[in-house]
Symmetry: C2
């Protein structure tokens, strides 16, 4: 009998990629999304598959997500307020869409006896880590963003439910993810702005901010690999590339790919915005020790992202 998955944020970047992968792997998949930032287009293939059903709903609707969880084996909880940068302008959004939404998923799991959850957390939970690359058991962090705070709150809830209600938890702390269906973040912004004006490009900070990225297919590989191979009740994994680049390096890949040569205008300072972390670089020895490594370099991931964006310019319109 096919295993039954529910994917929250199913119409999002990573969620829809996971939906397609699970369907390829023979799962029966329920997608759950409120379409606040997701795209129906990303589910076009899935919607033609008889093993897929879509539920349009918000995770703040406890009754709806609860009912959707009946009969599910594994939840891939990827729905989140992804608008990391604007947390300070809408403080309640992270609380609701990340923390309370995660609580509602867990309550639905408890009531319906769903025993496995995979959760997309973030390297931002480490705040400004003293130790870089940062391992999963780094020092107790001080949060520096509402996004990180809301995700660490979600992690804690998941762990407490795992302990209290015999649920297996797989928590993944991501670096930024790139690849097909990528629709927010600085590669997106740079491509959109260069399409509008190829002669110059505004850059937040000084361009020296170091970032690590992971290609979305490598991310999905790692999650499924951990689910199949990690043995603890609560399994926490950093997911990221074993390298980093500077913002200026991704700009070089982007401009080369687009064949443009803009003047770069830096806003200055060592970070993009209040609460931005100048350097997130995760120690990924734990997941690699389980036999799983990214296949793509960061530069190749950026290049693939640029190519996809150029072939799907409609996403720029819908994110205007």
């Amino acid at each position: 009998m096919a295993r039954k998955a529910l994917v929250t944020g199913a119409a999002g970047f990573i969620g829809s990629t996971m939906v397609d992968r699970l369907l390829d792997d023979g799962w029966q998949v329920t997608g759950y999304d409120n379409f606040s930032t997701g795209f129906r287009e990303f589910l076009a293939a899935a919607l033609r598959n008889p093993r897929f059903r879509l539920i349009e709903g918000d995770l703040l609707d406890e009754g709806k997500i609860g009912a959707a969880l009946e009969g599910i084996d594994t939840v891939f909880h990827f729905a989140a307020n992804a608008d990391v940068r604007y947390g300070l302008e809408h403080p309640r959004r992270d609380l609701e869409q990340n923390t309370i939404a995660t609580f509602n998923v867990l309550e639905g799991m408890r009531v319906h006896g769903v025993k496995t959850i995979a959760f997309s957390s973030t390297g931002s939970v480490y705040g400004e880590a003293a130790l870089i690359p940062t391992p999963e058991d780094a020092a107790f962090p001080i949060q520096t963003s509402l996004y990180g705070a809301s995700k660490v709150a979600g992690e804690g809830l998941i762990e407490a439910y795992a302990e209290g209600f015999n649920i297996r938890a797989f928590i993944f702390r991501f670096v930024s993810i790139l690849g097909e269906r990528y629709t927010h973040g600085h590669v997106f912004d740079f491509c959109r702005n260069l399409l509008r004006d190829p002669t110059q490009l505004q850059v937040l900070g000084n361009g020296r901010q170091r970032k690590s990225y992971l290609y979305v297919q490598d991310c999905v590989d790692a999650i499924l690999h951990a689910l199949a191979n990690a043995k603890d009740k609560v399994n926490v994994f950093n997911l990221g590339a074993n390298e980093y680049v500077e913002v200026n390096d991704s700009i070089a890949v982007i401009t080369a790919r687009l064949g443009v040569d803009p003047k770069l205008v830096y806003a200055g300072g060592d970070r993009g915005w209040v609460g931005d972390n100048p350097f997130i670089f995760l120690d990924t020895r734990k997941i690699r020790g389980l036999g799983c490594s990214p296949k793509l370099t960061i530069r190749d991931g950026v290049a693939k992202t640029v190519d996809w964006l150029m072939e799907n310019r409609w996403v720029f319109e819908s994110r205007a």
Copy 2:
């Protein structure tokens, strides 16, 4: 001009003790409490003081707590669902009363420009720490209780607001607190049960669970000492005694104090309940390094608690 404090959970054990101390120290004090577990009796002295005002309200009432914060210098945020043990039976209560309530306090602070918060967190945020005594910068914890999860969520929110909105934060991770006005926890339960039946006493677990306690006046001393002397934007301190006892040791103090000699009936196992941590013992070198140490031993704290309970047996009736 008198400094202006708002104390949430003002009618509670630690909150009311802080209210009295602040009034003694010349502060103007607003007490905020929903009286779900607090006692009006604990505010009897404060209510006779012209520098005290009481607001009866719930922290889920954003408008009410927001308005109460106008003109306040320092928030002592002590309101919480203190029903640690029953978290698994009412999962939403910890989320609402600890995490969302803390968010509402922070939003009120942001809107009204309140710049300092002291927060009662818990040693439970360390989960089952590998390192004992556990320092503030212990390894990134795995939560084992909904109470711990809700408190670590509150810590993260406070830290993110401190970073984003220029607020100074003082986060205190308590062991269990004992002393006058103590109205829940195992010393309370043991005293109540021994008053009913002095011939035998049921003990959860095997009685060997090691616990560290702090006397409430030492706790209040430490909080005010940290506020006056710690210099960071976000200051995290463990608060606890520099020793621990076993549950059996506190039973010995209690029975000696009560002059009873009950048969001890152990439920067995190495912990009291699912999610109970068999040993919380915090490294308190950081607060001691700031020149602040507890004045009372744990045994003296237990004895003082028993004496107060015997003189205030009405609390047993109201917690029936």
